[in-house]
Symmetry: C2
Subunit: 241 residues, 2 copies
């Protein structure tokens, strides 16, 4: 009986507004450079207070779609990109992502980061990575979890890759990874000790400027997790909450 109910739309007022504006842009009624109606008019049109309109505009501006100029108006900034469809509505809704995609992508990013880091790392980078590794080791030796320190190690590698976008993207998906880890309770005891050794191997390859080996070592390091995620996907899907 319960199955007859469909999921309620938890869409906030601001979301509804931003969606309408987005549709206007997508449909071509609003072209880049066009000025939007003033907030007051929009608020009246939508039948809500200006607060919601402003919230929606802020969100859109956040995405780079709009550009609001004080005491002047709000204009459509972005390119008339059709790809906007689906982008804005729930960008960053990586929470909806299945764990397998998350891990798969992480492996991709991390491998590339390690490879590039081996090519481009400076002596300072090595020091930073070593520091992160030391902090991790300290935690592990105390039989603590050290998830943060683990991530910091990977982050320092991303920095050493000298690819800012790569680092940013890793930062974006990392929280979701961690959340999934916690939910799925992947972090078995003992895992950390081996991870420590693997970290050391990766660092060595980066230090020796061996891009392929560094990438391969990273891939090995993450292989367990990747395999596990595939297992989850192919087996019965864990509800994750």
């Amino acid at each position: 009986m319960l199955e007859n109910f469909s999921e309620i739309t938890i869409e906030s007022p601001a979301d509804k507004i931003s969606r309408q504006i987005r549709e206007l842009i997508l449909s071509g009624q609003l072209k880049p450079g066009d000025r939007l109606p003033p907030e007051r008019k929009l608020a009246e049109k939508f039948g809500v207070g200006r607060t919601y309109v402003r919230e929606a505009l802020q969100k859109l501006e956040f995405y780079g779609i709009l550009k609001t100029q004080p005491q002047s108006g709000t204009v459509v900034a972005g390119m008339g990109i059709t790809a906007l469809e689906g982008l804005i509505s729930d960008i960053l809704q990586l929470e909806n992502s299945d764990f397998a995609s998350l891990v798969e992508t992480r492996v991709l990013l991390e491998t590339q980061a390690a490879t590039l880091a081996a090519k481009r790392r400076t002596p300072e980078d090595l020091i930073n990575i070593q520091k992160a590794l030391d902090a991790y080791q300290e935690k592990v030796l105390r039989e603590e979890q050290g998830v943060e320190e683990d991530l910091m190690f990977h982050l320092k590698i991303a920095e050493a890759s000298k690819n800012s976008v790569l680092k940013s993207l890793m930062l974006i998906i990392t929280p979701d990874i961690v959340n999934s880890f916690i939910k799925l309770d992947i972090c078995k005891a003992g895992r950390f000790h081996r991870a420590l050794e693997e970290h050391q191997i990766i660092l060595d390859h980066i230090a020796n400027q061996e891009p392929e080996k560094a990438g391969a070592a990273m891939r090995v390091h993450l292989k367990d997790v990747l395999d596990y995620s595939y297992t989850l996907k192919n087996g019965r899907l864990n509800g994750t909450d």
Copy 2:
């Protein structure tokens, strides 16, 4: 003389507040699960109206750092992840990213997307990609630019990869790519015709389920851009503004 001036901080009030809150979290004074002071108290403490505080909280919630519960309070949601440092302050500030990083990462994502798409594409995916390709072709034959259609083609491939995270990340960096393209005026005439052929090749490989070839074809397709970005980087840096 002008050099003596330092760049002004254009930091909005909301940014200042969110930064302070973030520092509290990073310093450990606010741990996950803790409730933040009420908005009114914060507003009073910061000496601003509640509006700014709410704006800051919304932004933080956006990043998944905070979780605001109506009529109850706002709590720290995220894991106590140390990696937060630098993350929140300007996540997504990919605008600051250099073009080379942008392109380099795009190549990585796109190649992987093509490879996975060749493995996992359904007949429907092929139809969608073909549609996008047709739309692109139409534009090109009219001697128009068709940047949007180009991107749509790539986006459909990402969808066919069945990796939602991959697609999301591509969506995130795509606008920046387009902006850079426009700024740098990379889209030379004639480029589009060859791109069309290359698109067809990629699609064929995906249709034939040849992952390696599809990935390679994508890499070739993006090689020009990648090379150009390296040229820019090694030569004098174009200010792009």
